[in-house]
């Protein structure tokens, strides 16, 4: 029960559910509010959590989660460790495109505690896209919100012909052959 599974529950009609996992709650809330202000044509539910596993008392109330976004703050090593421990509670079938890593705080280059190399390796190991953003800036936050809304739409199965699996194949580097 502690592990998140993507296909355990039926999806609600015309809605997408996003789950943020990260140690900085204020940032999560701000990004969530920006996302909710976006123009979209389906319901969006956003769940915020600091780490996995999610408390199991509310399992029956929680809808099917379509996209899990792990937020890593580039200034704190703890956030990376937190995300790494939480990754164990996500079922393997989530990593077929329904997981995304969001690195925040990249605006300040001199404060980095974790290397971008480490994050990129994490993204490659889990076959998931890594997005870099700076949530303090209004424009970047809105752009990130738009990207996340699009990804959520695809992961929730709203776009016919495009499934979350295409994220995996789009990430294939072309110099592999």
């Amino acid at each position: 029960m502690a592990v998140l599974r993507p296909f355990d529950k039926l999806p609600k009609l015309n809605s997408g559910v996003l789950l943020f996992v990260g140690s900085d709650e204020e940032l999560q809330r701000r990004l969530a509010e920006t996302i909710l202000q976006e123009k979209k044509d389906f319901n969006i539910n956003i769940h915020l959590a600091t780490s996995l596993p999610l408390p199991s008392e509310r399992d029956h109330l929680r809808p099917r989660i379509d996209l899990v976004v792990f937020m890593i703050d580039i200034k704190s090593k703890y956030s990376l460790k937190n995300v790494e421990t939480s990754l164990a509670y996500v079922d393997a079938s989530y990593f077929l495109g329904k997981v995304c890593f969001l690195v925040t705080g990249v605006g300040r280059k001199n404060d980095c505690s974790i290397e971008t190399n480490a994050v990129c390796k994490l993204g490659e190991a889990y076959c998931s896209p890594v997005l870099f953003c700076e949530l303090e800036l209004e424009g970047v936050r809105v752009a990130t919100a738009q990207r996340l809304v699009r990804m959520l739409g695809i992961c929730a199965g709203h776009i016919p012909g495009v499934s979350a699996l295409s994220f995996v194949s789009l990430m294939r580097k072309s110099n592999d052959d």
């Binding site: 029960m1 502690a2 993507p6 296909f7 999806p11 009609l13 015309n14 140690s23 709650e25 809330r29 969530a32 509010e33 909710l36 202000q37 123009k39 979209k40 044509d41 389906f42 319901n43 969006i44 539910n45 956003i46 769940h47 915020l48 959590a49 600091t50 780490s51 996995l52 596993p53 999610l54 408390p55 199991s56 008392e57 509310r58 109330l61 703890y78 460790k81 937190n82 421990t85 509670y89 079938s93 929730a156 199965g157 709203h158 776009i159 016919p160 012909g161 499934s163 979350a164 194949s169 294939r172 592999d176 052959d177």
Partner: protein, 285 residues
Amino acid sequence: MAAVTWDMAPARAPTPIPAPAPAPAPTPTPTPAPAPAPAPTPAPAPAPTPAPAPTRELELTPASAWSQGGGGSYGDVSVPTLLRLRDRMKEQLAEYETAILAGQENLFGHGIEENFIQSATQDLERDIEEAKVSFQNKMLALQRIQIMDALRNKFKQDDEDSRMILETMKHIVLLSRTIIDYQQQVHQKEEQLINLKRERLSLKKRGGEKLQQIPTMMKRQKEKQASVNVIETEKMLKKLEKERQIITIIKNVFQNVIIGSRVNWAEDTSLKAIVLQLEKNVHFQ
């Protein structure tokens, strides 16, 4: 505009928190109160980490997602919306079917080696690349057809623009023809160059062969001369031998003549010298 619903507030208020030992964090925590639960101790348990925030979860839902506003999320039952909903449900159904298929295939996973999986993934990736490339080519072809069609329609209108387009196209055709001519000339010159190079190469080869033949021929000549020399020396030796034998015979004859004539050759010095000379052996060895 966004209604924030705190999940835990209503749940927590009525039930008293048992404040179990494993939860060092403040009380409004929905951390698994059943500490003996099989769930491995997550964030709250490890004390050394810098005050890990307990796993809290809250949910944000907009009050109304529809731009039309009004009552209820499902109040809009127009045909396009229904069709869109139907498409979405189809897509979600396809996803579930894929998930089921994937789940089923794992039953045979014991015998599958990693190599097989790797080669299978490589094949699939290659297929994806080919599909992408062919799709792009088809898009390109389609766009070209569309452009040609648009041009044709434009020509039918036969106004100022189309005349200019016609001029430009004729100019393009002329330039292309000259380009083709020049390319043919270039091609011919290149062929000539290649022929010259080929002949030079064959000449070089022949020159090299001749050079190699020279020392062999010189060797042969030397051998012939040597053999000729040998033959000549043999002939001369034979002649010499014959002459010696003749001389020996003549000597013996003279000796016998002198002895037979019963002349006392020891008294006459010149006769003595002749006889003694006759005694000398002609053969050196």
